[in-house]
């Protein structure tokens, strides 16, 4: 029987449930030291001097490191624009400037955590304040304070899409709608705050045991900062307590490596929840001005958008995230004429970067908001208006090229409506059924719709590949199959799925498979667990490796070893003038319908029911797929309704889970119906697509649509907190007086 499509029990389940599985904070060495980081006390300032003498004199302190101690004082996933430690004395230009509160200024290493913390508070930093800017629109103006030397007007990137002929386009439209959409910061709020331990391993390598998403990228960045050859740096991931993109960039990796390298002793750090929320990047708040036009029959003729994303103090993955938004802001539709400008802008706020959906949710909030408004203005059913415009294999995407084969958004939208119970299909036309209203006049129910697409894998010409190794051991019969793979198990179940796929590819039961994972000393580069890519990429790598290994086994090689690098079809970057490109090699498609109950007196938005239809290509492990759908829905519910990170002049005011509210058991929907569709991707392993981000994308616009259905009011600013909802309703004459 095939293992593909089977909900085998996760290989990490027992260890995690019984508490035996070690996370980075659980690993201890006998002679370990403890580190505390001194972060910046300013949002924008030049550090004139750092006096560490009192800290160094504090009993139990082993060392204090500052900028002068970093061999190559820069790092960054996309570009090395951030100093490892800010301060005078390093030869890196601009490293003496702090650009946001999360900049690291000094590292204190001591015998205990308490001593390190006490000594850290004795360090004296002299700052010379620089003018700061916190609003991306202000930051783009002439004369605004400039954060980085080569970045005038703080514009980190600007993408354009110019398609068709905008001159005459609007005249063809019978209906034109406009809107201004604002999305908010989101904190990853993974279970396990940042932690790790740096040490020198038996072979003399600088080793960091840490939680991340891409071992080999961490290794590269550490090697860069320490000016060491790659092979003298080792990165190991034990269990990782959630990531969601929040561990794509560095947190404690380089500083732990630096301290271990200098001191030749193990050095450990654990961030508190407060440190975690204050000092790792967030989801981009993005403002989108949009204008869409359609003919009477619903056919889209033109769209226009200006997209501005706050990148914060450093680049992180902003160029990639906004690249995605630039495209997703047009939705999964064929639109003959388009004009889009997208900017990522440096400010003195916390940096923003990768987070489940990677710019897609923000784009979808505007695109689906516009589509729902068009449906309303045209008096058309929201499902029908989509059906007229959805992309197919034969249509051109907004970037002027065809989509990769296997475009299924059409059937996904139809299945979602059919399975929801809120629509009926009559003579191939979808019709909304009325929703039952509660007896309480304060409570109004509404139903909303949205759909989206999400790329699988790295986009826009980024080098994309994944290594896998399969070793078949035994003599006459196969005794065991060893898989080597670097994929990070961040709780998504990738190790289980990799073992399932390896067993299937070789043709052995899963019990025979052993996995050696997530250690740069024993595995090749697999790329990051991001962009919904790992099942797709690892599956293809494992298939390739297994094919080689099985052949060698037949040729009586013992052990029979197959090493394979999977490379998907090439992608291309945006043309700087027109945006024309072949951005991606695969996509997943999703549609969602939600029912909400709005309390028009209190502004509470209760998410009652969610139907999520997802084309996952092939559900390798359906239980894990369902877990991802439900998890994405709940995380998106937080983003849409509850999560309200307050940043005041670059400082986060609510770095606690008591004040930064995420959904709990009290808040989550009573029902999430996962409709798992399996329209094979032509190049996916066993037909699988990536799927873990896409259920995040449509939820917020579907909720906004449902609120409109319930109240008649569009609310275009996230999060939809009670006070915002009640105020907006009141401004439109609904609900209670607000004085």
């Amino acid at each position: 029987m095939s293992l593909i499509g089977k909900s085998v029990i996760r290989t990490d389940a027992v260890g995690k449930v019984t508490g035996k599985t070690p996370y980075p904070s659980d690993v201890n060495f006998e002679d370990q030291l403890w580190m505390k980081i001194l972060f910046s006390a300013r949002s924008h300032a030049r550090i004139v001097s750092i006096d560490t003498s009192e800290a160094l004199a504090y009993p139990g302190v082993i060392a204090v490191f500052t900028a002068v101690d970093v061999p190559q004082n820069s790092y960054g996933l996309i570009m090395p624009d951030q100093p490892v430690l800010c301060g005078p004395g390093s030869d890196q230009a601009g490293a003496d400037i702090v650009r946001c509160y999360m900049d690291n200024v000094a590292l204190v290493v001591a015998e205990t955590e308490e001593i390190a913390a006490a000594a850290r508070d004795l360090i004296k930093v002299e700052y010379e304040d620089l003018p700061a800017v916190y609003d991306p629109y202000e930051a783009m103006k002439d004369g605004a304070p400039q954060l980085h030397l080569n970045t005038p007007k703080n514009i980190l990137c600007h993408y354009r899409i110019r398609k068709g002929d905008m001159g005459s386009a609007w005249q063809q439209a019978d209906v034109v709608v406009e809107g201004e959409f604002h999305t908010a910061y989101q904190e990853h709020a993974f279970l396990q705050p940042e932690a790790g331990i740096g040490y020198i391993d038996d072979e003399g390598r600088v080793t960091v045991l840490v939680a991340g998403q891409w071992t080999h990228e961490d290794q590269e960045q550490i090697a860069h900062a320490l000016s060491l050859p790659l092979e003298q740096v080792r990165v190991i991931y034990p269990a990782v307590g959630g990531a969601f993109g929040g561990r794509e960039d560095m947190s404690v990796q380089i500083v732990l490596a630096l301290a271990a390298y200098k001191l030749r002793r193990p050095v450990k750090i654990i961030w508190s929840r407060e440190e975690s929320i204050k000092y790792h990047h967030k989801r981009h708040p993005i403002s989108i001005k949009a204008k869409w036009g359609a003919r009477k029959d619903g056919k889209l003729v033109a769209m226009e958008a200006e997209v501005v994303g706050d990148a914060g103090g450093y680049a992180y993955t902003s160029t990639k995230v906004l690249g995605n938004t630039n495209m997703m802001v047009a939705g999964p539709y064929e639109i003959p004429n388009a004009h889009i400008d997208t900017y990522a802008v440096y400010t003195n706020n916390i940096p923003t970067g990768a987070f489940r959906g990677f710019g897609g949710p923000q784009g979808a909030f505007a695109a689906e908001g516009m589509m729902n408004r068009l449906a309303d203005a045209l008096g058309m059913d929201p499902v029908e208006v989509r059906r007229v415009n959805l992309l197919t294999d034969d249509k051109l995407a907004i970037v002027g090229t065809p989509m990769p084969k296997g475009v299924t958004i059409g059937p996904v939208v139809e299945k979602c409506a059919e399975e929801s119970g809120y629509w009926q299909r009559k003579n191939d036309t979808f019709e909304r059924l009325p929703v039952e209203q509660p007896a309480d006049p304060a409570k109004r129910r509404g139903v909303g719709f949205a759909c989206a697409f999400k790329n699988v894998g790295f986009s826009f010409g980024a080098p994309e590949n994944c290594w896998g190794t399969i070793e078949i051991h035994g003599d006459a019969t196969i005794e065991k199959v060893v898989v080597r793979h670097a994929a990070a198990e961040v709780g998504q179940g990738t190790h289980t799925v990799i073992m399932q796929m390896a067993a299937e590819a070789v043709g052995v039961p899963m019990e025979k498979v052993e996995l050696i994972a997530s250690d740069t000393a024993f595995t090749d580069n697999s790329g990051s667990v991001s962009a919904s890519r790992m099942t797709f990429m690892a599956g293809n790598a494992i298939r390739g490796a297994a094919e080689i290994a099985v052949q060698k086994w037949k040729d009586e090689d013992r052990p029979a070893v197959g090493v394979y690098q999977y490379r998907p079809p090439k992608t291309t970057p945006y043309d700087p003038k027109t945006g024309r490109s072949e951005p991606n090699f695969a996509y997943g498609y999703v549609a969602q319908i939600v029912e909400v109950e709005v309390d028009i007196e209190t502004g509470h938005v209760d998410l009652i029911r969610v139907i999520s239809a997802n084309d996952v290509g092939r559900a390798v492990n359906p239980q894990q797929v369902k877990g991802q759908i439900e998890g994405a829905v709940v995380q998106a519910q937080g983003y849409a309704i509850m999560e309200n990170l307050i940043s005041m002049e670059g400082r986060i005011l609510n770095p606690y889970l008591s004040t930064y509210l995420i959904p709990t058991v009290y808040d989550i929907p009573k029902e999430v119906k996962s409709v798992i569709l399996e329209y094979a991707d032509p190049i996916g392993p066993w037909g699988a697509r990536g799927m873990a981000e896409m259920p995040f994308l449509p939820l917020a616009p579907a909720i906004a649509d449902a609120i409109h259905d319930a109240t008649g009011i569009w609310i275009d600013r996230l999060p939809l907190t009670p006070d915002r909802v009640v105020k907006t309703l009141r401004e439109n004459g609904i609900g209670v007086a607000f004085s």
């Binding site: 008591s658 004040t659 009670p722 009640v726 007086a737 004085s739």
Partner: protein, 283 residues
Amino acid sequence: MYPAKFDYYRANSVEEAVKLLAENSDAKLLAGGHSLIPAMKLRLTQPALLIDIGKIDSLKNIKANGSLEIGALATHARVAASADVKKWFPALANAASLIGDQQVRNFGTIGGNIAHADPASDPPTVLIAAGATIHVRGASGTRAIAAEDFFVDLFTTALEPGEVVTKIEIPNLSGRKSAYAKMSHPASRYAIVGVCAVLSMEGDTCKEARLVVGGAVAHATRLSEAEAVLKGKKLDAAALKAAADAAIAQVGDDAMGDITAPADYRRAMVGQYLQRAIQSALG
């Protein structure tokens, strides 16, 4: 954080607790520990001595006999489940059932709750509305304090140093209609706004209304303006709206705000929850 160092002593009787309190100026009583221990961990308070009264069984009773008496050490879970409380003053049973989560209700006590006087607590609001009396004992004997006079400010009560809350007495409320309406904080479940209504009705007409707000203001407070508006009125939609407006006006600039619920929002919600409490009391 860990609390600062402290000594611990378990008192076996109220007399002993009172004596220990008198002898140690830097001592605090420990009941359910669900407010005190978190405050100690944050080092907001650093008592040198904890006097654990949690094992004094005589303070745990709930009995109804002419009036309803609830011992200071009755947990929220027991108050919520008590048949006497449900019968005598269902708004209190309901309020207790809405406190925190099950763990908090199993440990937290009504005496500890009112002694702590957190502005976001539920019991103070309900006890004032009931016209309850707080019985306390100190080195110089016992005294009775009207609930209305007990809550003085944020985390501040009329308790004198060395006094122990022993029981709470709720008068006979038969014939009154009552209800508690609450907006819970999504994380802690503490009250963002809580309003209790206790109504004496003659047919459709309100003879007397006792209306109390908590959560939105520094300490549970009677909404006397709204009470006056309703006195002698038919409780129709217009009357409720007028009472809500009066309540909002009375709260005025006293409304407290935070990130979750800004002051203007809370103030508006006082009016809303006032109406909800009255509607719910009328059934």
